[in-house]
Amino acid sequence: MSPSDAVMRDHSTARPAVDRPADYLHEQHTLRSWFFSTDHKRIGLLYLASITFFFVLGAIAACLVRLALIVPDGTIFSSDTYNKLFTMHGVIMIWFFLIPSIPATFGNFLLPLMIGAKDVAFPHLNLASFYIFITGALFTLITLVIGGVDTGWTFYAPFSTTFSNTYVIPALIGVIIVGFSSILTGLNFVVTIHKMRCPGMTWFRMPIFVWTLYATSLIFLLATPVITIALILLVMERAFGIGVFDPRLGGDPVLFEHLFWFYSHPAVYIMVLPGMGVITELVAAFSQKKVFGYRFVAYASIALASVTFLVWGHHMFVNGESQLAATIFSLLSFAVAVPSAVKVYNWTATIHKGSIHLDTPMLYAMGYIGLFVLGGLTGLFLATLAIDAHLHDTYFVVAHFHYIMVGGTMLAFLGGLHYWWPKFTGRMYPEAFGRVGAGLIFVGFNVTFFPQFILGYLGMPRRYHVYPPEFQLLNIMSSAGATILAAGYFFPMVYLIWSLWYGKKAPANPWNAKGLEWTTSSPPPTHNFLNTPVVDFEPYGYENKAPEIG
């Protein structure tokens, strides 16, 4: 028995379920009460179910890609099928899983709880955002059913506008629509954070997760419109022959690269920043210690959200970009390392002399720190001009961004899911299975993606269906790792659903964590708090007295 089990046992209540006060899960049971709910918590769970569905779809595509790459001569699928598979993997994972993952699920569920509010500022708009997301998702599903799309998630013109023979327009419409969901969610969060904080919840008493949501929402608001416009232009060119990007119609393909990356680099931070917020919460809670350098960590979130708008040109060092522009973009990309380092060193310092509970969420957090550091520093390799000239568009890039997206965001998502699962559902997950799953995912991830760094350095280009035989060994390793990773994902998928019925009843605060969300019951009542909280204490007051809600 681990010490954390002891904590849980101490806090568990022996009350039978019928005696529970009405909570948001049990107040109403009709389908209508779920699908037309304006309760941020229910909407959060609707998102959770939707993105889990898309994650499974994206993961199936990834498994088929890894299956195809076991042999070098491309005999398992046709090249067209392979191209559609990696495109669907990218489009689904980026726009229908990673971007909405933490902001739309945890953000929706937790933001009002963390700042002591009853709901987000615009609950109806919040529900509308969800249905906009679903509408975009439907277009993507239709694209998949009628035959797929083969442009890559990057939709580079003029291939996407003039040359591809697949269903580009429905895929683009799906992504365009889902962008409006992001924009409205961002707007909702910004207003909520400005206007809905409970008495005493000053900016510097907000949890770091709220800071990162704020920074993410700013990116949603400022960057998403650019991709919306760029993709609408693609549709115009493809559907009506209005020349914007295809030189044969008088356009310029490099213009699309600029517009695309002006959004898609900041989009990396839409995916990364909320993950950093989650990790900060986990590290503090499972070290039972105040976040080291709270203000620096908070400011670093805003700094990352700002600098990220100035580095899009590092995706274009080898497209004839001017030397001056390339050099400036390279230098600015190095500057991103500063706020990133702030986060990592402060997490490490938070663990130092804490009282560490190695429960599942903490295992994910520790895995996250290691993988994020490796992903981030390999990003500096790619920001170095002469190195990028070699590694650009190779498997090194694929490995790098999977270390950030999977090693980073995905682990943060899973860590957060376990940490807040008792709050979401009122049930505990089985700890032992949780740890095994976390271990499998960490090992499987590294076996899958570390060989890809070497493949890239050896010169294997990305998006290659047929590849030279000398790369087969490393590809087989990578595919073998993917099976371990898939087995790892299977664990939480099964035991979390199991726990909905059979999990131990969760106490209000199973982790002895600070933060307003742990002061209300698990699951919380419909309006979050029985009385509006009043905050007269600093955040992460682990060495102090526990907060008392008046």
Binding site: P3, S79, D80, D150, G152, Y156, P158, F159, F163, S164, P247, S287, K290, G293, V318, N319, G320, Q323, T327, S330, F334, A337, V338, A341, V342, T348, I351, K353, G354, S355, I356, H357, M366, V373, L374, L377, L380, F381, A383, T384, L385, A386, I387, D388, A389, H390, H392, D393, T394, Y457, L458, G459, P461, R463, V466, Y467, P468, P469, E470, L473
Partner: protein, 317 residues
């Protein structure tokens, strides 16, 4: 017969390097890997050590001060940043060399299209997907795409450059080690993107001269261009005496004043654009009467005509 590809051993963990510049990039990558280990290993060790040392329930000293931490914050913000800045500079310096081909480079024309590469040597020798070059000489590849964006990637030389459909881009190298290496298209370009690859064969100058002879060619690129130039009647207007159109003698590489007041250099991209879209980039002081050759000239015709225009020098007095 499949040639022996250098560095293609299945257990190779290091790519073959065919030029001095490639070796320099390797040194940069190695050194950067070193500094990465210096910056990351302590974090990995510290996290693991702290997690075990301060595990809940262990009886250990956890006392720490909550004092000012600005100094420590600044030090871990700035010291790693300063350490890595050296690599920014190092990379920028090598890249600077990679971007500027020396004047004496031998120029090879490349056209990318779905899904093949066509290379043409100055003497008119053409090859598909394979490229033969001499060692010890500066080679500049001037390339353009006929359809979508491609990218010519030469891993043994640690360089790549996108091949765009509306402008020429260049990549140059000086290879040292004869051998056969791989070349790829690295920018995703559709169905058979992964089959748009071939071999880069680096030969000793003697072997290369023999290869050129064997490959055979009746006409140089400029001569092919001259024939097209005559066939399409370009010289009818563009001649030294005509008033209708500017003379093209000596125009290549010269500075052109445009009607909108800006100036530009008459490079390959400019000349190609004026042939296809004469209504754009209007030249100051001339009346635009030239017809467009859009849809009439193929991409390699354009390359040949531009190669011919380059040879037109100002008549010496």
């Amino acid at each position: 017969m499949t040639p022996d590809i250098a560095g293609s051993h299945p257990l190779a963990l290091w790519p073959a390097a065919a030029s001095r510049s490639a070796t320099e990039v390797d040194h940069l990558i190695l050194a950067f890997t070193g500094i990465t280990l210096v910056l990351t290993v302590p974090i990995f060790l510290a996290i693991t050590y702290f997690a075990l040392r301060y595990r809940a329930g262990r009886n250990t000293v956890r006392r720490h001060t909550e004092g000012r931490d600005v100094k420590i914050e600044l030090s871990w913000m700035l010291i790693p940043f300063a350490l890595t800045l050296g690599f920014f500079l190092w990379g920028a310096i090598i890249f600077n060399t990679e971007l500027h081909p020396p004047g004496d480079s031998m120029e090879i024309q490349a056209i990318g299209r779905q899904w093949m590469w066509k290379f043409e040597h100055p003497g008119g020798q053409a090859e598909i997907n394979d490229l033969h070059v001499p060692a010890g000489q500066n080679i500049m590849i001037n390339m353009i795409s006929q359809d979508v964006i491609h990218s010519l990637y030469l891993p043994a030389l640690r360089i790549q450059m996108e091949t765009l459909p509306n402008r020429y881009t260049q990549v140059w190298f000086k290879a040292d080690r004869p051998g056969t290496y791989r070349l790829y298209c690295s920018e995703y370009c559709g169905t058979d993107h992964s089959k748009m690859d071939g071999n880069l064969t680096i030969m000793s100058p003697g072997d290369f001269a023999n290869w050129l002879t064997e490959a055979g060619s009746t006409q140089s690129l400029a001569a092919i261009g001259a024939r097209l130039y005559a066939a399409y009647g370009c010289g009818g207007c563009h001649n030294d005496n005509a008033r209708v159109a500017p003379s093209l003698a000596g125009i290549y590489g010269s500075e052109i004043k445009l009607a909108d007041g800006t100036t530009t250099i008459a490079d390959d991209t400019f000349l190609r654009n004026k042939i296809l879209n004469p209504d754009t980039q209007k030249i100051a002081g001339t009346k635009q009467v030239m017809p467009s050759f859009h849809g009439i000239l193929k991409e390699d015709d354009l390359t040949h005509i531009v190669a011919y225009i380059r040879t037109l020098r100002e008549p010496t007095q």
